[in-house]
């Protein structure tokens, strides 16, 4: 069995995930990167994207992350997410509604609309929808701990 390390995914409003994992692939601001056990200390900025985790036993869990920081220390990995949801938790209807709203804002561009904010909202919504659609793939896709 591959070596494990402790992973904590936390956002300001909740602990999203906590458990022993084999590896993860994170959406780094400079491109995706993977973390295995015994990785050297690192601090990375995350952008909106998909965080894939291979949990103890090989089960896969995907998370939709909307930006954040990831820190690798000798004692484990902590993801400080601006927001994060496991694929199973994503409210697809809400994300679809958010996508539509953001698109309308960008199309109409009325006075006073914060374009950057609308674009970020659109990106988050599309990311949630993509992660939600991919849930359950791979062997032994499991609930998060």
């Amino acid at each position: 069995m591959p070596p494990l390390y402790d992973l904590t995914i936390v956002s300001a409003d909740r602990v999203v995930y906590r458990g022993k994992v084999e590896s993860l692939v994170a959406p780094g601001a400079m491109g995706s990167f993977g973390v295995l056990a015994h990785h050297a200390p690192m601090v990375a900025e995350l952008e909106t994207g998909e965080l894939d985790v291979v949990a103890e036993g090989g089960g896969r869990v995907s998370f939709a992350v909307s930006g954040g920081l990831l820190e690798v220390t000798w004692s484990g990995v902590t993801v400080l997410a601006d927001s994060a949801e496991a694929a199973e938790e994503i409210d697809v209807d809400r994300a679809a509604a958010a996508e539509q709203r953001a698109e309308e804002r960008l199309r109409a561009r009325p006075e006073g609309v914060d374009t950057a904010r609308a674009e970020a909202a659109l990106k988050r919504a599309l990311n949630r929808l993509r992660v939600a659609r991919r849930k359950g793939r791979g062997p032994g896709a499991s609930e998060n701990g």
Binding site: V10, D13, M30, P41, V43, E45, V72, W74, S75
Partner: protein, 287 residues
Amino acid sequence: MISAKDVKNKIRTVQSIEQICRAMKTVAAIRLRRAEQRLETMRLYAGAIQGLVERLAAVTQDHPFLQPRDGKRKAMVLVTSDRGLCGGYNANAVRRALEEGGPEQVAVIAVGRRGVAQMQRRGYRIADRLVPLGGEPDPYQVMRLADRIGRLFSAGEVDEVSAVYTAFHGGTRSQMRREVLLPVTPRAAGADASRGLLAPGTGDVICEPPLPGLLEGVMTRYLRARLAAIVQEASASEHAARVAAMTAASDNAEEMIRSLTLAYNKARQAGITKELTEIVGASEATA
């Protein structure tokens, strides 16, 4: 002697006050429970980012937030509630805030209506505000305020930002706290390093994006988390203070109703006795 009718009216008044107090207490208790839960995760998140910043600060100070300033212009974040009926919660915060210095030395960044009114009345400049704070602080508004505070500091308009707020200690216990938000002074940078990222003898951290680019994202989130944690501490304390104040008030009302009921019964009895005496007196006179 006051009449039985007057006493009865008074009892009714106190009873309705008691009901209001109990209702407010119930609302505050529910909000306190929710605020406590949010505070718990907020502390975890803020603690994690605090550790990260301390470890990074041991390696670099290449960000405005990390550089000490010589200047003396101060701003103070003061967290109060919007409304009263929460005992000494606001008075204590304002008293502590006044110790920070006079209106010439300190500008106030007021979170909560009470702080705006109290400090303005004393001649302080309100540099920024978050009102109304509400029963459950809006994370987005708090985040925006944090970003404005960061810009204020980075632009060099202030040289130090402190925070005066009520920290929550569980139950109904809380305590005034004063912290320096900016510049960030890592508690003895390096002393903390050994337990985390920088194992003894290791000096390097992989940074993505490389320093100093990474620091912008880190420090922005750090200040947001610090401010959000502070506001959440204060919010929980506010609800706890309101629960305590409303418990005391409804207990007092109950006690008052008890003694008024006694007075009412006495007055009623006195009336009956008086009437009886008159009847007996009258019948004896005619006998």
